[in-house]
């Protein structure tokens, strides 16, 4: 009994009427309280149920609805889609599945080309992110601890500031009378401003810039855990630093590379804000197509079909990411 419990006056019986009961129960406790309580505690299902119900209702059910609506037909009504269920003569329940939306996706070149373009943009940006992020994560992991904390804070800081405003900052740098062109012209390196806005280049920059912390942090947490003696052993055995890096550090950091790349690639495929602000107007990305279908054409079934098509592409990367994430959280 702690001093605090010892001080408890009879008055506390009023506020804690269950206390004597509890103390009696406590005397009859099983030998290993903790294991018993953990296994039999009635609060456990309750605590589990709260986040579970929330996520099932607001995360899982919505996807089922999207899947359902992707098979329905667009009509002029509120909401603008036909119900999948119907009653024939008020007796027989029928299910009408309409495959036209998917057929439309495959036959209209707009969808196919923006789908492929999105994958290309996401892949190239992920590669650039890795090429810049890996040496940075490596440098941070190898720097002395005091510097390391400052570096890490500098990596995380932009992540806390508005994503939208950070993308906006690049408009000021990239546009034809923007900072980069002004400096280059002032230096006399160019006579005419270079067109950088509304190009693939601008989208790559925007994605790399916005997602760089997501690449660096998993890489860093992986590289930081490496056993340095392995490299020393390799050096003792005569391996050049480059070879030691290729044979030891790089293979060991594979989980970090996979996690970082997926954290960039998956959201980048569906990116909407960056291509809208910096990207081409003649070639849309799939996220923009989805939102245009929804807001401009008010064709909810086709928008749902686009979402499902995107999910089909992303389901494998998402599952790989989940496996990594769960392993990472279990093995600390």
């Amino acid at each position: 009994m702690s001093a605090r419990n010892g001080k408890r006056t009879p008055g506390s019986l009023l506020t804690r009427p269950w206390e004597p009961l509890w103390q009696l129960f406590h005397r009859l406790r099983p030998a290993r309280w903790s294991a018993y309580v953990r296994d039999h505690w009635i609060g456990k299902p309750l605590v589990t149920a709260v986040p579970m119900i929330w996520l099932v209702l607001f995360f899982m059910v919505p996807f089922i609805i999207v899947f359902g609506i992707s098979f329905s037909q667009s009509i002029l009504a509120i909401p603008p889609y036909e119900s999948l269920w119907g009653w024939v003569d008020d007796k027989v329940l029928t299910l009408r599945l309409h495959l036209g939306n998917y057929n439309y996706l495959f036959t209209d070149t707009l969808y196919v080309s923006s789908y492929l373009y999105s994958v290309k943009v996401a892949a190239v940006s992920t590669l650039f992110c890795l090429l810049l992020g890996y040496p940075m994560a490596y440098g941070i992991a190898r720097s002395p601890p005091t510097q390391r904390n400052i570096f890490l804070m500098l990596i995380i800081l932009p992540f806390w500031t508005s994503f939208l405003l950070r993308v906006y900052a690049w408009i000021g740098l990239l546009k034809s009378n923007g900072v980069i062109n002004n400096i280059l012209m002032w230096l006399g390196l160019i006579d005419q401003p270079i067109t950088m806005m509304q190009t693939d280049f601008a989208v790559y920059i925007g994605i790399v810039y916005s997602y760089l912390p997501f690449m660096i942090l998993p890489l860093y947490s992986n590289l930081e855990k490496h056993d340095r003696t392995l490299l020393e052993a390799a050096a003792d055995l005569g391996a050049r630093p480059w070879k030691a890096f290729m044979r030891i550090t790089l293979p060991l950091s594979m989980p970090g590379i996979v996690a970082g790349s997926l954290l960039v690639f998956i959201p980048a495929v569906g990116e909407y804000v960056i291509p809208s602000l910096l990207g081409r107007t003649d070639q849309l990305m799939i996220g923009r197509v989805l939102s245009d279908e929804f807001f401009e054409n008010r064709d909810w079934p086709v928008a749902s079909a686009v979402a499902i098509a995107m999910l089909v592409l992303l389901v494998v990367p998402i599952m790989v990411f989940q496996r990594y994430q769960n392993r990472e959280l279990a093995h600390k």
Partner: protein
Amino acid sequence: MIGGRKFFVPTMLAFGFAFLYVPILSMIFFSFNNSKLVTVMDWPNSPTLKWYGKLFQNDQIMGAAGLSIKIATMNACFSVILGTLAGLVLARFGRFRGRTLLAAMTTAPLVMPEVITGLAMLLLFVAMEQLIGWPAGRGVTTITIAHVTFSMAYVTVIIQSRLANFDDSLEEAAMDLGARPAKVFWRITLPLIMPAIISGWLLAFTLSWDDVVISQFVAGPSSTTLPMVIFSKVRLGVSPDVNALATLMVLIVATGVVLSAIVMQRQEKRRAREMQLAASD
């Protein structure tokens, strides 16, 4: 990197940090420029605070900022509660039926493209309104629900990884001494994960404060959040008052992050010292 690691890595670090900070710094720099053309310097009349003045006179921006703060605060509180529960369940409750599902539903929102989440949430709200009449119309409630759903996933990860850093020996000891699970949670687990809860709250606040895509889907005509106003302004090109707004936001965030980092580091050090003292007794 042959013989050049000493050169290559620091160069990349310097380049990377320049890449991260030059755009932000240039945005701050031009917020004091007098010219309406933002990136064309008007030296004789600069620096000026006129765009800051204009910003505070802009009722649309101020109103949207108020709404965003309200939503972000509610979102942060709900997300922290739900995320802490989910993190606790995943880190401490061992294996149970549905664990895989819960783990999947708390990691998928981290990477799910926003357009998909936004569309899915909106279709759910429409279907629910048809079925049970709630939520009637779309606005603050629907935006908050949508934000909580993806923010709580981030909080869950933070709480879970914090809990994974401590084994459950302290909690077990408390239970062996007769504390009930609820008491163990309030007296042992909660203080241990407090830093994670605070950073989770702040992160959830920022995520909501920052979100434009999901809000656009689930917002009603009368509820325009700050990012939505900024996005519609920015789509038309650069505008000096957005620079001023960005500068204010960067300054607030930077101060907050640096301060909280210092405070948390101090607390961690104290806790480590106390743990050491307790161990040596």
